[in-house]
C-alpha cells in the first residue's frame, strides 16, 4: 500500500485536529480576555471585592453605633 494511497484521509484527520484544538485554544483565550476586561471595567466603576468588604464593615459600624445610641437613650 503506497504512502500516498490515502493521503487525503490522513491530511483531513490532521486538519480536523488543528481545527478542533485551535478552536478550543481560541475560545479559552478570548474568554480569558473577556473576563479580565469585565473585571477591569468593574474595577474602574469602583466595584471591587474590597469595596464589598468596606460596605460590610460600614454596615457593621453603623449597626454598632445605632446599638450604642439606643443603649445611651435607655440609660
Amino acid at each position: 500500500m503506497g504512502a500516498t494511497a490515502h493521503l487525503d484521509f490522513i491530511a483531513a484527520a490532521y486538519a480536523a485536529a488543528v481545527i478542533i484544538v485551535g478552536a478550543l485554544l481560541i475560545w479559552i483565550t478570548l474568554d480569558y480576555r473577556a473576563q479580565l476586561r469585565t473585571l477591569a471595567e468593574l474595577d474602574r466603576q469602583g466595584v471591587t471585592r474590597r469595596s464589598g468588604a468596606r460596605r460590610a464593615e460600614r454596615t457593621i459600624e453603623q449597626a454598632k453605633a445605632a446599638a450604642n445610641a439606643q443603649a445611651k437613650e435607655e440609660a
Binding site: I20, L24, I28, Q35
Partner: protein
C-alpha cells in the same frame, strides 16, 4: 505543600498563572517531537500510511475518557465535600473532554473509511464513544441552562456520576461484543500488539495530548474562577443600585 492547599480558588489562580506558561512551552516541545516521530514512523504492514491517523485518534480517545474521569472525581468533590473548586474543575473539563471526544470520532471515521470501507458503523465501541460525546453535550447544556452555579454543579455532578458507567463500557466494549473496531492492542496482558517503531511515537503523542489537556484545563478553570468573581461583583453592583 499539601494538594488540598491548591483547592482554594485564589491559590489556584496564582498556581495557574505560574504554571500555564511553562506547561504551554513544554506541551509545544513535546508536540513538535511527537509529530516529528509520528511522521518518520514506518507504515503499518497492513494499513500502510493510514496508521498515522492513530497518533491522533488513540490519544484523543484516551483524553476524552480521562476528562470524564477528572469530572467524576470532581463530581464527588461537589456532592460529598461541596468544594467550589471541584465545581470549577468539572465545568472547565467538560468542553475540553467534548473536543477530544469529537476529535476521536472524526479521526476514527476518517481512519475507518479506507480500512473498513465505511465512515461509521453502529458497533459497540463507536456507539459508546458517541454516547460519551452526547453526555458531554448534556453536561455542558446543564451548566448553561441552570443559572445558579451551585445548583448547576449538583445537577451536572449527578449526570457525570451516572455517565461514568460509560467509561468501562467503552474500554471493554471490544471484548464484551463482537465489534468491527479492533480489540485492545496497546495495554493488554501479554504485551502490546504494536511494534515499538509505532508504539513509541504513539506514547510521545499521548504525552503531548495529556500535557495539552492539563494546560487547557488549568486555563479554562482560571477563566471560570474569574467568571465567578465577575458574577459576584455584578451582583454586588446590582445590590448597590437597588
Amino acid at each position: 505543600m499539601a494538594l488540598l492547599d491548591f483547592a482554594n480558588p485564589s491559590r489556584f489562580l496564582r498556581f495557574a498563572n505560574t504554571t500555564i506558561p511553562w506547561l504551554s512551552g513544554v506541551t509545544l516541545i513535546v508536540f513538535a517531537f511527537g509529530i516529528d516521530q509520528a511522521m518518520i514512523a514506518p507504515d503499518d504492514y497492513q494499513q500502510g500510511a493510514t496508521v498515522k491517523i492513530m497518533f491522533l485518534h488513540v490519544p484523543s480517545a484516551w483524553l476524552g475518557m480521562l476528562a470524564w474521569g477528572v469530572m467524576t472525581v470532581a463530581a464527588l468533590g461537589t456532592l460529598v465535600w461541596r468544594h467550589p473548586l471541584a465545581d470549577v474543575i468539572a465545568k472547565a473539563a467538560a468542553p475540553i473532554g467534548a473536543a477530544f471526544t469529537l476529535l476521536c470520532l472524526v479521526t476514527g471515521s476518517l481512519w475507518g473509511r479506507p480500512e473498513w470501507g465505511t465512515y461509521w458503523v453502529w458497533d459497540a465501541r463507536l456507539t459508546s464513544e458517541l454516547i460519551l460525546f452526547l453526555l458531554y453535550l448534556g453536561v455542558i447544556a446543564l451548566w448553561r441552562t441552570v443559572d445558579d452555579p451551585s445548583r448547576a454543579a449538583r445537577a451536572a455532578a449527578i449526570l457525570t456520576l451516572v455517565g461514568a458507567i460509560d467509561l468501562p463500557i467503552i474500554k471493554f466494549s471490544v471484548e464484551w461484543w463482537n465489534t468491527l473496531h479492533q480489540g485492545t492492542s496497546v495495554f493488554r496482558l501479554g504485551g502490546s500488539k504494536i511494534y515499538p517503531t509505532i508504539l513509541i511515537p504513539l506514547f510521545i503523542m499521548a504525552a503531548a495530548f495529556t500535557l495539552l489537556f492539563f494546560t487547557l484545563l488549568f486555563a479554562a478553570a482560571r477563566n471560570e474562577i474569574l467568571r465567578r468573581r465577575v458574577r459576584t461583583l455584578q451582583l454586588m453592583q446590582a445590590s448597590q443600585v437597588t
